[in-house]
């Protein structure tokens, strides 16, 4: 994926990203200004040093007293130390600035990601987003640090050195310069090749990880058909391909420094030949010969680096473009200018002909012309087959997805005009996948509270029938759970997610098939607790099990995005439709679950 981004890096596409980068750079104007000054100081010391070396040698050459030589050598020391200070200062400044921008950019990325709607997360892969936030940010930082440092410093350095050389001996200076234009040719040639080789290796790596992923996904087939050898052969072939691509990249990478080193070498040859001739012809002092050769030598490293920097800048620009893609994504779900100042909701929900379609071409609506009113303080049960639109119905209420104006009202106010903070403070939803964070159990339960209040945590945990499991955990409420902590059972996770929602004490509670992994007995206990606690609050329960919704004030059956049946449990059972069939089937299942000892009725 980064390969395609690299490929797509025309200068034009990279521009918006670079423009944004410039904005960040201006935040650090002060640092960059001082850095520029230190760079000038560094360049001055850099240019002065060979001059001083020549100066010192000239003293000896001309037979000046030893004290004069010592004095001039002392000057070298002083300038060396100055150069040290400037070098240290300038490097630290620009690298720190790069880190500072990385820091700001990462914060902004994080903040932006938090603002992006669920529809964005549905079409993006976590791995890809992570790669943008980690790898691409790293490349941008390299562009800002060593990239800018060398991109700016090297030309100044070359120009100043050239000026100094011209001042000493214009003819030799021009002669020395002859090989350097080759740099452009070399870096052009290498730039393209390096780019292609890098791309090929990226593709090779992608192929390799695809192969590995596919094998692991199909590992049971691999094992049952004893395909290990065949699959290994196949992997080895992909691996070989990658190996060959890497070798060609290795060759390009290894060729760059030696070929670039030819430039200063040729320059030095010229100094030796032409300069030596000048000295022989007595047109130039031997000390100037030293100065010239030292200049050429000192330019070797910047020349090397410049070759590397070209690739660095290219990669950094491509990376910034990929970050820009995320940052320019519009947070479509945000407070609107015409928002109504409301902070407390009573909990009335009304769908007025809601039709909802997930973004994407050619997708049929997930909800069609939904008319439904849930008075404040009542409960709604939603059942229906997989893919009927149940979760979608639950998700649009807290505005996880964008619905059109005039279709969904809370307390009579269009949902799009309610401030997000109000909306989400008053609605607690327990999503289907009980996602927990890598923090203590107490912090997870108190996730939506301003701070972890142990009393509130215990109360919510008790209502969610979670409290009785807590003693079994190694550190009770302080046990770290989530992906990087203790693994809770599916039922425990769901009950934690439920407790997290209950702790909010919302006006509207939405349970999206929340208790699927909780055993029937516990479910009854939870429902009893909820009934008592949620007296007077609005509850939307989405369930697979009829038993979960049977006590709701009204129940709707969804099928293919439409309400096909509605009524109370008794009414629906009597109607003998989809709901009745489901109810009967589940009653049988429950019976079956009781085991062989129980006779069939």
């Amino acid at each position: 994926m980064s390969a395609t981004a690299l490929e797509a890096t025309g200068a034009a596409q990279a521009r918006p990203g670079l423009r944004r980068l410039l904005v960040y750079a201006t935040h650090n104007k002060g640092t960059y200004t001082i850095w520029l000054l230190t760079t000038l100081g560094y360049v001055a010391a850099f240019v002065a040093l060979p001059l001083l070396v020549g100066h010192a040698i000239a003293a000896a050459e001309k037979g000046l007293p030893r004290s004069e030589v010592a004095l001039r050598c002392g000057l070298i020391l002083v300038v060396t130390l100055a150069r040290f200070a400037f070098r240290y200062w300038s490097r630290t400044l620009v690298f720190n600035a790069a880190r500072e921008i990385e820091y700001e950019l990462r914060n902004d990325l994080f903040a932006h990601l938090q603002r992006l709607p669920q529809s964005f997360y549905q079409r993006s892969r976590t791995g890809d987003l992570m790669s943008r936030c980690v790898n691409d940010l790293g490349s941008v930082r390299l562009l800002l640090g060593p990239g800018i440092l060398n991109l700016l410093q090297t030309p100044i350095l070359f120009a100043s050195v050239l000026a100094a050389m011209v001042a000493i001996d214009p003819r030799l200076a021009l002669a020395v310069l002859v090989p350097y234009p080759l740099f452009i040719v070399i870096s052009r040639g290498f730039g393209g090749r390096l780019h292609r080789s890098n791309l090929a290796v990226q593709e090779g790596l992608a192929e390799l990880s695809n192969g590995l992923q596919e094998t692991i996904a199909g590992i049971s087939v691999v094992k049952t058909y004893a395909m290990e050898d065949a699959v290994t052969r196949r992997f080895a072939a992909v691996n070989d391909g990658l190996y060959r691509r890497q070798l060609s990249l290795v060759k390009v990478n290894a060729a760059m420094p030696p070929i670039l080193s030819v430039l200063p070498a040729a320059a030095m040859g010229i100094v030796f030949w032409v300069g030596g001739g000048e000295v022989l012809a007595r047109r130039m002092a031997l000390s100037d010969f030293f100065t010239f050769s030292m200049y050429v030598y000192e330019l070797t490293f910047p020349t090397f680096i410049l070759g590397w920097v070209v690739a660095l800048v290219q990669r950094g620009a491509a990376a910034m473009q990929r970050i820009e893609e995320v940052l320019s994504e519009r947070p479509s779900i945000a407070d609107r200018p015409d928002a109504v100042a409301v902070s407390r909701l009573r909990g009335e929900i009304e769908f007025r002909g809601l039709t909802f379609r997930y973004p994407g071409v050619g997708r049929s609506p997930a909800l069609r012309d939904l008319h439904l009113r849930i008075p404040a303080g009542t409960s709604l049960g939603v059942v229906g087959p997989v893919g009927a639109g149940k979760t979608t119905l639950a998700s649009v209420i807290p505005r996880l997805f964008e619905v059109d104006d005039g279709q969904l009202f809370l307390d009579g106010i269009d949902v799009n005009r309610i401030p997000l903070a109000t909306l989400r403070r008053n609605i607690a939803m327990v999503p289907q996948d009980a996602f927990l964070f890598s923090m203590s159990l107490a912090d997870n339960v108190a996730y939506g509270l301003p701070e972890t209040d142990r009393g509130a945590v215990v109360e919510a945990a008790t209502r969610a029938q979670l409290a009785r499991d807590v003693d079994d955990l190694p550190q009770g409420y302080d046990t770290i759970v989530g992906e990087r902590g203790v693994m809770l059972s599916g039922g425990q996770r769901q009950r934690t997610a439920l407790a997290r929602a209950l702790a909010l004490r919302p006006s509207i509670l939405i349970l999206d098939d929340t208790l699927s992994a909780v055993d029937a007995e516990t479910e009854v206990l939870i429902q009893e607790g909820l009934a008592e606690h949620f007296e007077g609050r609005t509850v939307v329960v989405i369930a697979h099990r009829v038993s979960t919704v049977r006590d709701c004030d009204q129940i709707v059956v969804l099928d293919e995005g439409r309400i096909v049946e509605r009524g109370s449990h008794e009414q629906l059972v009597a109607a003998g439709g989809l709901y009745a069939r489901l109810a009967r089937r589940q009653a049988l299942e429950a019976e079956l679950d009781e085991g062989p000892g129980v006779a069939a009725s």
């Binding site: 030589v69 070298i76 020391l77 938090q114 420094p257």
Partner: protein, 643 residues
């Protein structure tokens, strides 16, 4: 896994670990020729790198200095300060003698009629080019070695991963495995290009330069080296400081990325609970900690970088101050040039250090993966037993199995399936049906009991042999990316196109395959999404048939299949199990009415068995299961067998 994730970044302190290096050596060993070559190349590389400066020296001392000296004595580098200095020529000659360069001196002598300076300049360029060329060769050989060793390591990782039992993959995310085989291996390869080998080369180079300089002019060399202790102190200070600074930055970036990853996966919860502001504050704090840790690293790195330049500058000052009195201009030149090369390797020490650190950490993680023992062990070749005859008899004797601890999925399950018999397993979800076949194919190992194939415990059967005899058609038909034919063949090269087509015809798959754009050569997309569920099922039948096993294990599809294909599947199924022992895991009860015997599993135990009619009549669990699936036929349950 969770523990590993938390401690993953803790192991990052070391830049070298002999134990790991020794293990890595096993992968490098096959390429020891290349390793030897890289080491051997260091010598000519070294010579080629140092020679050009020597050529300049020869030019200065033999061409330029005498000419200047002949014209005006004051212009020599000979001092006025009273040092008794030998003439420049004599000194050069003496040095050349000491180095045994007399012969070489002839090389530097220009052919007749060639201007000496031009000749030397040409020589200079030749050596420079040769040096550049050899540098290239050296770098390529170095990376080539690394990449070759890493290719083998990667294949090893892959082979090992395949041997691990299925339970491993439930715990170890695929993403992490991919990281091991790609990024981590890449990191280790880096070490060959920029880490350990470069380090060795650098040390050799520094020692070599020091030795030659001391030999050339001990006094001047010692004077120039007075800065070395200073630099040594700086380096040690740097090494100590940078180790912690780097570790801190890594630990902190790992934390940031963990939070980032978690936030992206759990974004819905973040937004639902309006935690955005608080999370951003927390994140900004972590982010700032990371940035500040880098400030430390940058200080160390910049200080070392600048210190190397200072050392160079000081040594030049010392050389001029001390050398102009005693040494010829050429010697001075050589000293200045070579001293710079002496200091150069120290400049990117921090980069090398960081490469080594991350290589070692990656190395450790890879070896940890390779050390994970495969739970299902292959029988030792000498202990392997083969059944006397291929009949297709399957027997379970008191088999108990749990995926985890004591959560028994199967308890004391015993049954025997005679050759050619067809039996079905039914039961509610979670009753243990699927576990039966996972055990029979040794995807998992039971904790207690014995499973026999044709009278031989499957533990004592080579796995390849077991899998040749037992073919499995899984519920979730997995198709690999590749052609249709390859998906039937599944890595068996002896199955030619005719055999593939024969199998496809037999199971009614030929007709739809023919209609595909390129018939048997049609490329199937990842996970076979361009085929319908029914077509995939048929293809998997063809697979099983083509592989010609004695025992057929069918995990019936739960996904809905259109009635037309369903009919095809029923025909195909009958064709498939002709003359074979068949074990069917039935989810829908519709396919099993003509099996010989049905086993009813409930909570891991076999609670009933018998024919369809017998079980229905008994009115037990099977009866209820049947009612569940055919509620409409409830009253005529007995007559369903026909339909």
């Amino acid at each position: 896994m969770s523990v590993e994730a938390l401690h993953e970044e803790e192991a990052l302190g070391k830049a070298y670990d002999l134990r790991l290096l020794a293990r890595l050596w096993r992968y490098v060993r096959p390429y020891r020729g290349q390793v030897a070559l890289t080491l051997l190349l260091v010598v000519p590389l070294f010579v080629l790198e140092l020679t050009p400066a020597w050529i300049v020296k020869v030019g200065l001392d033999t061409v330029i200095a005498p000419a200047i000296a002949g014209a005006a004595p004051a212009a020599t580098t000979a001092p006025a300060g009273g040092h008794a200095a030998p003439s420049a020529n004599a000194l050069a000659a003496a040095a050349a003698n000491r180095l045994g360069l007399d012969g070489a001196a002839h090389l530097f002598a220009p052919p007749h009629g060639f201007p000496p300076l031009a000749w030397l300049a040409c020589l200079y360029l030749v050596f420079m080019f040769a040096s550049a060329g050899l540098q290239f060769v050296h770098a390529v050989v170095m990376s080539w070695t690394g990449q070759s060793a890493m290719r083998d390591l990667r294949t090893d990782v892959f082979r090992h991963v395949q041997r691990l039992h299925l339970g491993f993959f439930d715990r170890y995310p695929v993403g992490r495995l991919v990281t091991r085989a790609s990024n981590d291996v890449e990191n280790v390869a880096e070490m060959f290009a920029a880490g350990i080998v470069a380090l060795v080369t650098d040390v050799v180079k520094m020692l070599g330069i020091a030795a030659i300089l001391l030999w050339l002019d001990p006094r001047l060399a010692l004077a120039a080296f007075t800065v070395v202790p200073l630099l040594a102190v700086a380096t040690i200070w740097f090494r100590l400081g940078v180790r912690n600074a780097f570790r801190l930055t890594r630990v902190r970036i790992a934390r940031i990325n963990a939070v980032l990853q978690e936030s992206i996966t759990g974004m819905k919860v973040v937004q639902l609970f309006t935690r955005e502001d608080r999370n951003l504050r927390d994140f900004a704090k972590l982010n700032a900690d990371h940035r500040d840790a880098w400030y430390d690293s940058i200080r160390y790195d910049s200080a070392l970088f600048a210190a190397v330049e200072v050392a160079q500058g000081i040594s030049v000052a010392i050389l001029i101050w001390y050398g102009t009195g005693v040494a010829a201009a050429g010697t001075l030149y050589v000293f200045i040039d070579w001293m710079r090369r002496f200091f150069l390797p120290l400049r990117d020490l921090s980069a090398k250090y960081s490469v080594m650190q991350s290589s070692m950490a990656s190395c450790e993680r890879i070896f940890q993966l390779l050390d994970t023992p495969p739970a299902v062990k292959e029988v030792a070749p000498e202990a392997a037993r083969l059944p006397a005859a291929r009949r297709g008899e399957v027997e379970f004797r008191d088999v108990s199995f749990a995926y985890q601890n004591e959560d028994w999925v199967l308890r004391d399950v015993s049954f025997r399936v005679a050759p050619g018999e067809r039996v079905a397993f039914v039961g509610a979800t979670g009753a243990g049906k699927t576990s039966v076949i996972k055990l029979l194919t040794r995807l998992y190992e039971p904790q207690r009991g014995e499973i026999l194939l044709d009278g031989v415990p499957i533990r004592e059967l080579p796995q390849a042999e077991l899998r040749r005899r037992v073919a499995m058609v899984l519920q979730d038909v997995f198709l690999f990316s590749g052609s249709v034919a390859e998906n039937v063949r599944l890595g068996r090269p002896d199955l030619d196109d005719a055999a593939v087509e024969r199998a496809a015809r037999a199971v009614e798959a030929h007709r739809f395959i023919e209609k595909l754009p390129e018939g048997y050569g049609t490329e199937l997309r990842e996970r076979g999404t361009n085929l319908s569920a029914g077509q995939r099922q048929l293809l998997s039948f063809a697979r099983a048939l083509a592989h010609g096993a004695d025992v057929l294990v069918l995990d019936e599809a739960t996904s809905s299949i259109d009635t037309e294909t369903e009919a095809l599947i029923q025909t195909a199924l009958r064709r498939l199990w002709e003359g074979r022992t068949a074990l069917v895991i039935a989810h829908r009860l519709s396919t099993i009415q003509d099996v010989d015997r049905i086993y009813v599993l409930h909570k891991g135990r076999i609670v009933e068995h018998g024919s369809h009619a017998e079980l229905l009549a008994a009115g037990g669990v099977y009866h209820r299961l049947h009612r569940l699936q055919h509620p409409a036929d409830e009253r005529s349950a007995g007559s369903v067998a026909a339909g």
